[in-house]
Amino acid sequence: MSTAKSPETELPPPSADDPHAPRGVDRWQSAWRNVVTGNALISVLSVLLAIIAGSIMIAFTDEQVQEAAGYFFSRPSDTFEAIWNAVWGAYTALFQGAVYNFQADSFAAAIRPLTQSLNFATPLIVAGLGVGLAFRAGMFNIGGQGQMLMAAAAAGWVGFSLDSPWPIQMIIAVLAGLAAGAVWGGIVGVLKAKTGAHEVIVTIMLNYVAFYLLSYMLSTPGLLQAPGSSNPKTPPMDPGAIFPEILGPRFNLHLGFILSLAAVAFVWWLLNRSSMGFRFRAVGENPAAARVAGINVGGVYITVMAIAGALVGLAGVDQVLGTTTSGFSVGIDAGIGFDAITVALLGRSTPLGILAAGILFGAFKAGGFAMQASEGVPVEIVLVVQSLIVLFIAAPPLVRAIFRLPQPGQPTRKERKAKRARAAAGADTGTTTKGVDQ
């Protein structure tokens, strides 16, 4: 097959000075370079680094390790064994709690942790979409907590007070939740568009307002408080409003997960295929240029915040109609509004990225609780690992520097050697090295 190499041979031989020219001999090398400078490897290494950091924290605070370290110089092997037991035990428990339980007696029981992870991922995905969508239009939505609480209040009120058969009450409850979230997010957009109020302040403030508004409603009979009770808690949801369990009663995974997937598809379509999404992105890239191009920037702020609020609101609906159906109190948001920011950042504000990041964080959450229960490692270690992952992924040059990988665009060792040789030759013939390089 002599034709196979003809396209390359017919071109003029690549100049040795051009670092981007293909070199037949170095093909494997350049493929290797593409792998080690690419995003996938950086992601894997970031996770690895974060897990190592987590291991160090687990090892240093473990009681057995501290005990064994007390006589480290007489029997160092004990210390290392204790470290290994602590770290390996913690991460095995994490994996078994999040993905697959080896010790279970049936496949269904063994796979149950995975469905649990998806369950935790459900609100994270939609809330992450809400934060990420706002990011794409240049808005920083820290108001997830408030939007979730208001949506939970609306959906919850419909869920226990409206007396209708199953699908109808559930649909109305979901719509009420979406509307409440959209209003709470829309306020931010309106204030920014009409008065220029900074969305960071307004969203933070609206979080507190929503929190106290909900706690007022929860402690006022006739609003959200359960009748005949003095606790600040709602009555349980009607069966007509509860999300059905999609894999049967053995698993907790509920309809909310399907809705989350639908939301991912919707946001993908919105951002990549609709003209509205194009306007969002244009405003996010450069509001001044978008205004000059005839885009109604204020209108974009209002629309994007309303949609973002509705998406985050869906997370609140998930909590109320799917996870905590026995009535909720003021902590129903469970910090998801803030977790969503990390999810959106890890997913780089793209719908599919947020889906993956949400599932990863859901797995961490499910596994973290299992780890705390079986190994006594506080669940907060999960926060540390999660935040380190996001930090490292955001700074690829740092990860490359830690693992001594080549930086993209930097000359390879071979090229550097050739350059040095040429420089030496140039010095011999009297030309300056600078002249040769250019």
Partner: protein, 428 residues
């Protein structure tokens, strides 16, 4: 000199053509609040008298209690507010801006009227109200000062919350071990600087989006401190989590002035450091070479680089300074207000500080005033809760945040951050 001489002459004709933009936000905000409060006072009238207690035991001379009839005072302040609104409308019609003193008069009228109405039949301890407000504001002020320095030098600092929390944690641990509160405060500064260093490395050296780093650092600090709290601190409370706290340090003479003394000069060392810090940051930022360079780097790093200012070095050093200041604010939690560290004990104070930075338009003095407003509003609901007020406590708790939204939308409006804030600088 010859080159600069024509400049004033050229500027003069432009002065005449200047277009003044009329903003109706202030009169509208005034009007809305006046009508709102008038409606509340009309539909929920209050009997009795309100006593404003101005004295505490140890003054030079005791100021008498101020006793006002509740409902009449409320209506009198409504009149003052209506007059102020009218004046503001008139000034706007004459294309003039509403001056700051009118805003202050209006605000005082709102507060006096509302206090008289809400505390009818009770006694308002003014010293407790204002002194407590100052106490609640201290960590927010330190956090806001750190935020202002960071943003002025071109680095958005969302991690104030993390710096406060790290400061509170290390202050508690070091003060418990050494028994010296000052050592705890130094440790808090170091912890704040550590968070700032991580933020700077990612934001300045690796050009990572500063909002991302800030948000993630908050989560990281919450994770690390909560983890260490449950693994290390909780089992060894006596050794590691029972800090020696700062004692109140009354300043002689100044502390004996009626009303002002007990509020401002019978506080702890941290509060006095706060006074000095606010002044120094303001003075340094607008009156010294350091401040000029700092602002130049935050507004136009390329220009600063061209005249020989090292952009990255300036940003690093000022971020570390800002971290140390925020760290002191964190130490206030465990060395003054609460006797021990607890999980996530800063409870969003760093975010409030961030709001104060923007509310205060990136100016140290204004940011301090904004922080004081938050402190006052939070303390007000506490005091009214004790006196017993007709408004449900949740709405009182909501008040500071609602007022902030109104203020940001109405009085502050479009705020302009330092031009290069949040943008990494890549040297060409």
């Amino acid at each position: 000199m010859t080159a600069t001489a024509p400049a004033p002459a050229a500027a003069a004709p432009q002065e005449q053509h200047r277009v003044s933009v009329v903003s109706w936000k202030v009169p509208i905000t005034f009007g809305v609040f006046t009508v709102l409060l008038a409606v509340i006072y009309a539909f929920a009238p209050r009997d009795g008298e309100t006593t404003f207690r101005l004295a505490v035991g140890t003054d030079f001379f005791a100021l008498p209690d101020l006793v006002l009839p509740a409902q009449a005072t409320a209506w009198a302040t409504i009149v003052v507010m209506a007059l102020a609104t009218g004046a503001s409308v008139g000034m706007t019609l004459m294309r003039r801006k509403t001056p700051l003193w009118l805003v202050i008069i209006y605000t005082v009228a709102v507060l006096v009227g509302f206090l008289a109405w809400a505390a009818a039949g009770g006694t308002v301890p003014m010293v407790g109200l204002l002194g407590g407000a100052l106490g609640l504001a201290v960590p927010i002020i330190f956090g806001a000062l750190g935020g202002v320095i960071g943003e002025r030098v071109g680095v958005v600092n969302i991690a104030i919350e993390g710096q406060l929390l790290a400061g509170a944690f290390s202050a508690a641990v070091v003060s418990s071990i050494t028994g010296v509160p000052i050592a705890g405060m130094v440790a808090a500064m170091v912890a704040g600087m550590l968070v700032a260093l991580v933020l700077s490395v990612f934001a300045i050296t690796y050009y990572v989006n500063q909002v991302i780093v800030g948000v993630v650092l908050n989560v990281l600090v919450i994770g690390v401190t909560s983890f260490l709290f449950s693994q290390v601190l909780a089992p060894n409370t006596a050794l590691l989590n029972s800090p020696t706290r700062f004692q109140t340090l009354p300043i002689p003479l100044l502390g004996d002035i009626p009303l002002i003394g007990p509020i401002f000069f019978r506080q702890t060392l941290v509060v006095y450091i706060m006074y000095i810090a606010v002044f120094l940051v303001w003075w340094g930022m607008f009156r010294t070479k350091w401040g000029l360079r700092l602002r130049a780097v935050g507004e136009h790093p390329q220009a600063a680089d061209t005249v020989g200012i090292k952009v990255a070095a300036t940003r690093y050093s000022n971020m570390l300074l800002a971290g140390a200041i925020a760290g002191i604010g964190g130490s206030f939690f465990t060395l003054v207000s609460v006797p021990a560290f607890n999980r996530e004990m800063t409870a969003g104070a760093g975010f409030i500080a961030l709001a104060a930075v923007i509310f205060g338009k990136w100016d140290p003095i204004r940011a301090t005033l904004a922080a004081l407003l938050f402190g006052f509003a939070s303390n007000l609901q506490g005091i009214l809760g004790v006196i017993g007020s007709p408004v449900p406590s949740q709405f009182m708790l909501m008040l500071p945040y609602l007022v902030t939204i109104f203020a940001v939308a109405g009085l502050v409006g479009r705020s302009r951050p330092p031009a290069a804030s949040g943008i990494p600088y890549e040297k060409q």
